[in-house]
Amino acid sequence: MKNNILKIVIFSFVIFSLLVFWQGLKKNNNYDTKNLIGSKISKFHLIEINNINQYISEEDLKKNKFTLINFFASWCAPCRTEHKYLLSLTSKNKDIKIVGINFKDKKKNAINFLEELGNPYNFVGKDEDGKISILFGIYGIPESILIDSDLTIIKKIVGPIDNIQYNEILKLVQ
C-alpha cells in the first residue's frame, strides 16, 4: 500500500516536472521591451545637437498630439533604410512630430547624415554617452517609440521601421 502511494507521488511529480518544462519550452524567450507599451515615458532632459542652450523635456512633448522618438546614429546602417519612412511620416501626417535622438555619435557625422538623407526631425537631441537611451528602455539602435500627448507609449519598434510598421504608425495616429 505504502509502496503504491510512493509510486503515485513520484509519478505525479515527474508528470508535473515535465509539464513545467513543456510550458517553458513553449514560452517565447526572445527578449523585447513590448511590456513598456501602455506605460508612461520617464522624465528626461534632451539637449539640442547644435545648441547646448536649447533643450526639451517630457513636458514639451505633451503639446504634440503624437510624438515619435527615434534613436539613430550615422554609423548605424539600418538607420539609413528607415530614414525614408521617417521623412514620409512627417509629410503624410501633421499630427505626428518626430524627435530624433542621436545615439553615441560624432556631431559632425550626425549633421552630415541629416544633410545627405534629409532631416525628418522636429528636434534633434544628442545622447553622447547613451544614458538617455536607458530611460527609454533602448538596447540597440535604431529603435522608435510612439507616444501620445499623455506621454503614454503606444508602440515600440525595435529595429528599423519598415513598410508594415510605417503603415501601422499611420493607422495609430489617425
Binding site: V9, I10, Y31, L36, D129, K131, Y139
Partner: protein, 125 residues
C-alpha cells in the same frame, strides 16, 4: 607635530581608499546581478559591450544619487522587464521558481527517509 600630520594624512588616505573600495564592491555586486541583454550568457560585470558600458554609467549615477540596490533594480526592471535581473523578485508568476527547489529538497528527503526506513525494516525481519 610632523608625526601628527603624517598620521592624519595616512588616516585620511586609508579611510578614503576603504570607502572607495567598498563602493566599488557594491557596484560590482549590482553589475553581477544584471544581465547583459545583447550578450550571450554574460552579466553586465562580465561584458564590455556598449550596452553594458551604458548600464554601468547609469548604475554609477544612481549610486551617487544615493539610490539603494533595490531601487536601481526596480528602475531597470521598469525599463527592461524582469529579464534584466538574474534574481527576479517574488511574484505570482514565478513563485514556483522560488519554492520548487525547497519542495524538491523536502520531497527528496522524504523519499530517502522512506527508503532507509524500509531497508532497516527488511533487515530486522
Amino acid at each position: 607635530m610632523k608625526i601628527k600630520i603624517f598620521f592624519f594624512i595616512s588616516y585620511i588616505l586609508i579611510a578614503t581608499s576603504a570607502y572607495t573600495s567598498e563602493n566599488q564592491n557594491n557596484l560590482l555586486e549590482v553589475y553581477k546581478n544584471l544581465r547583459c541583454l545583447v550578450c550571450q550568457g554574460q552579466s553586465i560585470a562580465d561584458s564590455n559591450s556598449d550596452f553594458a558600458a551604458t548600464i554601468k554609467l547609469v548604475v554609477q549615477d544612481q549610486f551617487k544619487e544615493g539610490k539603494t540596490e533595490d531601487e536601481i533594480y526596480k528602475f531597470l526592471t521598469s525599463k527592461y522587464g524582469e529579464w534584466i535581473v538574474y534574481q527576479p523578485s517574488f511574484s505570482k508568476n514565478n513563485f514556483l521558481l522560488w519554492f520548487l527547489p525547497y519542495a524538491v529538497l523536502i520531497f527528496g528527503g522524504f523519499i530517502i527517509f522512506a527508503i532507509v526506513r524500509k531497508t532497516k525494516y527488511n533487515r530486522v525481519n
